[in-house]
Amino acid sequence: MGLRPMPGNFITTRLNAMLGWGRKYSLFHYPYVTACCGMEYMSAACAHFDIDRFGAGWTRFSPRQSDLLLVVGTISQKQAPVLRTVYDQMTEPKWVIAFGACAVSGGIYDNYAVVQGVDQVIPVDVFIPGCPPRPEMVLDALLKLQDKIQKSKQDWRWKRQGS
């Protein structure tokens, strides 16, 4: 006979899990591309490796419409205030991926001009090393971020904080 759908076609879940499920498969990403890693980002985002398979296909060019900030490339000290502003403009909940060696740690640029890792400026959820990282690593990072989103305690904006 097999399984029968329950009468009324409903499923049971917890609100936290459902929110996480919804959020992890609808990431709108904002590419903050400053350097050569951008080529690798394009490859990962476009048809060859197709980030859309994982529900992160929407590239938004306004930080106000996006919830995933991809910091792709070298961030100089002069650019740090701009990056900080872009991050502050994004709506909650929001996540950040540091893409490539320069964004992770400054990379080869251990000098006066370059921020030694964007986590000195904004909080970062997932780091992707590599110079540049392979698109598979980018997809792997996306899966890790989705896992993190699913497992984290979801922010309920309609619930009073602290209650």
């Binding site: 000290q77 740090a80 900080r84 000098n111 006066y112 030694q116 904004i122």
Partner: protein
């Protein structure tokens, strides 16, 4: 070498000002006195040599030398297809080097870069401000005595 023609002419015209002239592997280079820069450059820019292009203008820091900095100018003549390098020494506390903006417009940003990175002052420059670093930046990062890992962040760092 055919480039030695220019060097010979330079030595002949500016006997006290050309300190050194050499040509290796087709690279003609002359070291001149700092004060003779404008005269030499004007002569080179006009006919017959017509060095119409200032390919590059940069600086080197030699901390061990008495005259610490060395300016290097790379010139190219479109009409004669010749290249020439002019160098001059600059002491650390010198009044400044004459600006070449009057001869080549692109010297504007090149001199601003050298001012930003080495702190060389250019006399007669129309807008001598930092080109790369922000206005609040202290020091000149390409000087050899700038601390290798000194950071001057523009936003407060998280850690």
């Amino acid at each position: 070498m055919e480039e030695t023609g220019i060097l010979d002419e330079l030595v002949r015209r500016f006997p006290g000002d050309v300190l050194e002239a050499s040509s290796e592997l087709g690279d003609a280079a002359a070291v001149i006195r700092k004060d003779a820069l404008l005269e030499v450059m004007q002569f080179l820019k006009e006919k017959p040599y017509e060095f119409a292009m200032l390919l590059d203008l940069t600086c080197v820091d030699y901390p061990e030398r008495a005259e610490r900095f060395e300016m290097v100018y790379h010139l190219f003549s479109l009409s004669t297809n010749k290249r020439l390098r002019i160098k001059l020494s600059v002491p650390e506390n010198a009044a400044g080097v004459d600006s070449l903006v009057r001869f080549w417009k692109n010297a504007d940003w090149l001199e601003r870069e050298v001012f930003d990175m080495f702190g060389i002052r250019f006399e007669g420059h129309p807008n001598l401000q930092r080109l790369f670093m922000n206005e609040a930046f202290e020091g000149h990062p390409l000087r050899k005595d700038y601390p290798l890992r000194k950071r001057q962040p523009m936003v407060p760092l998280r850690k």
